[in-house]
Symmetry: C2
Subunit: 506 residues, 2 copies
Amino acid sequence: MKPLYVRVNPLDNVAIVVNPEGLSSGSVFECGLVLKETIPQAHKVALVDIAPDGEVIRYGQAIGSARRAICRGSWVREELLTLPEPPALDRAPFAAATPVPAPPLEGVTFDGYRNADGSAGTKNILGITTTVQCVAPTVEFAVRRIKAEILPRYGGVDDVIAITHPYGCGVAIDAPGAEIPIRTIRNLALHPNLGGEAMVVSLGCEKLQPARLFAIGEDAPWMVRLQDEQYGGFGDMVAAIMALAEKRLEKLSRRTRVPCPASDLVVGLQCGGSDAFSGVTANPAVGHAADLLVRAGATVMFSEVTEVRDAAHLLTARAADADVARALVRELAWYDAYLARGGADRSANPTPGNKRGGLANIVEKALGSVAKAGTTAIMAVTGPGERVTSKGLVFAATPASDFVCGTLQAAAGMTVHVFTTGEGTPYGLAMAPVIKVASRTTLARRWPDLIDVDAGRIATGDATIEEVGREIFELILDTASGRKRTWSDRWGLHNAPSLFNPAPVT
Amino acid sequence: MKPLYVRVNPLDNVAIVVNPEGLSSGSVFECGLVLKETIPQAHKVALVDIAPDGEVIRYGQAIGSARRAICRGSWVREELLTLPEPPALDRAPFAAATPVPAPPLEGVTFDGYRNADGSAGTKNILGITTTVQCVAPTVEFAVRRIKAEILPRYGGVDDVIAITHPYGCGVAIDAPGAEIPIRTIRNLALHPNLGGEAMVVSLGCEKLQPARLFAIGEDAPWMVRLQDEQYGGFGDMVAAIMALAEKRLEKLSRRTRVPCPASDLVVGLQCGGSDAFSGVTANPAVGHAADLLVRAGATVMFSEVTEVRDAAHLLTARAADADVARALVRELAWYDAYLARGGADRSANPTPGNKRGGLANIVEKALGSVAKAGTTAIMAVTGPGERVTSKGLVFAATPASDFVCGTLQAAAGMTVHVFTTGEGTPYGLAMAPVIKVASRTTLARRWPDLIDVDAGRIATGDATIEEVGREIFELILDTASGRKRTWSDRWGLHNAPSLFNPAPVT
């Protein structure tokens, strides 16, 4: 393979090396550029001489300034860059460049499970919600028996899952921020893929009483409370959970897939283990799929506050109106304060793997991350754990942690998850299918039984962003309809829910 | 059953009703006291008239002052009490009343598994530590196959467990407090019941690099890193974990139980779902067992900062020396600040169940809680997640959350856990056996397949604190030796590790 780099924006004064083995000092690109030193794949090369304090530009934006002179053909490494201040939130431009809607894509549908609340599921799962970790092993014990003894009799139900978490007791349940884990548990319990109805196992004495989650009385139909006097020990508890589960399974097994408009689809976008290719291949391809979904009427969420913080000014400008921009600023400012209270800031974000993958700092990571969000207007902003109710592109304000973001996007109502990765991760969720998109062909080839889409073909010129984006769009519809299964679902790889609790434990 | 109350201390001006059905207004106690109103079991009755602002005294200490006059024979409910200020830490008496050591109990032993690091296990478990949640489903998949396909060939190994958690990435890993989850994961991996050697599965790009946990190089003997180029996808990853696990199982299965002195035993004490009986029956009985263990040379931990905070002055006085008292004050002050930073204080602690069980506030709960710690001198204080190295009674400063406390006591090296409960919880841990002690006979009778010891007999006069304490002491030795199995182990009830991370997620 001849020496190859990718420059994203005509303004950029750096580009990234495409060749899988990297390039050695002296390599010559087609344009005549000669490498001054050896540069690994995905790392940056200076396209021009950059003066001390000069801006290093990628994605058409400054990702930092040079600590010293950087010669043309040199490796632009993390330690050569100073981290710029994040964009000031009080001067963010509100709805200054709201994109004009693209022509709608009419008649796009998927085959989903219609719920009484109007939502549509992409799976048909019995989910058993727990109010407190005390009951988790009991519910897990019952779930193993339900799957072995009862589920085989009820066709058409995909899975039985225990929604366990470490919340519910031993927490400051009235402290600021405690509403986040509470509404997350509520919204997970009512997830469209669980039929939109909650089945709950409570202990009895926990702080998170079921009535804090749901409008239910003592005789709630789908609840087992282990401390109730009628249960004479563990055997009785398990029998009660199994009996209630069987009633739910009877109901769930009567459901069938029906054609649903794309406007019933809620797609969550996330990246994890990003590299410098993520913003060039996988994320723009997902961004194109996001644009198609929005045109088809679907809801598309992007998230990860610390990974969009440095693009705040670009996002507020894209807001549908000033209210949406204001809500975005409110969520970003809340997170700034949350991090500061804990003695951290957004620079805590890039991982060793991100850096190994060529990402110098959080600014570069953020600019690549927002490429997932495509080009449409941001129609709404939701707080962490809230249910999304708008159509079109929505910012769901969640931490960037893969598991926390996935959990909160699920709580928001996500029924298909698209996950881009550069370094690779065998990630999955029980509640919604996860489509994994690799930023590099080397990863897609090395992990053929984990990666669903190879977006690395974009860097080598073997496919366009639009082609891979269209492929992802079709795969989302096929997956939502149960026509295709993701690798993580085939293996049953399901990361446990991970709640975001900014309040103290007690 | 005739009307019966329990008064703990001669100074007390309240007592709690013993009768399981409670007592109705007009009931007459043997002493002539007549109930002015109906009082549920475990709730408090005023033994004398208490003037407005007068102290309400239980355990010989003020648990609050009366909001209005309380007549002799009335129900002393939560809303009649004002919550006093917590004991001032800057005026806590240091080692002012250090208990004199009781005569040692010589020759007490248990049959444990000796480890190379000098520790002794009470179980023989293959534990697979994860550095990050990304790898959890892969490890869980491998563990299911290891248990089905490999473990049956290796006798003498009790279990194979995946030590999963939501930490490792997406966290501010250099923020203040981040050392707590990191050292917790390290110390769990090196737990005595896992052979004192870690087997680790890492992803590769995560923030929590294995080298932050262990002094290991690239060629660490017991590690699989999923992103390593040699693994061509999921099948290879699982095969690598299974092959490494088999080597560990070969080694573990060669171990046998050998007599170990009681000084090799590390017992962790905790309460959960407490009621007003907890401080009268279960906790004092466990306290007597703790005294016997200390006399036999063992290490005994008590914990739960918010549940000892209101007894701070009693504990600093019991410290072995001023340094221990100073360490205690340091940990309690740290927790005060942690709660304040999150907009909470220790009053966030009592649960609805605690209150239903008769506990008016955190002061009453704390005074009952510290009864678990018996009467011996406090020899050392350890921070959350640290390994305990001292013998005798130790305060391991952990949150009161059952799961967090259990996890941190396990990280501290606990090999037997004693858990007292009033309301009842089907709690258990994978890493160490959990002995559950009920504070009331009604609970022990209702849950015969979950409760290991009925301490409720103390309230009805059917057993003394010393008798039940001795029974718990013997059961600890039998359980540690594998001669008896706890109910939670028989059912396999294992609450997942729950880390304490006071630092932000990103």
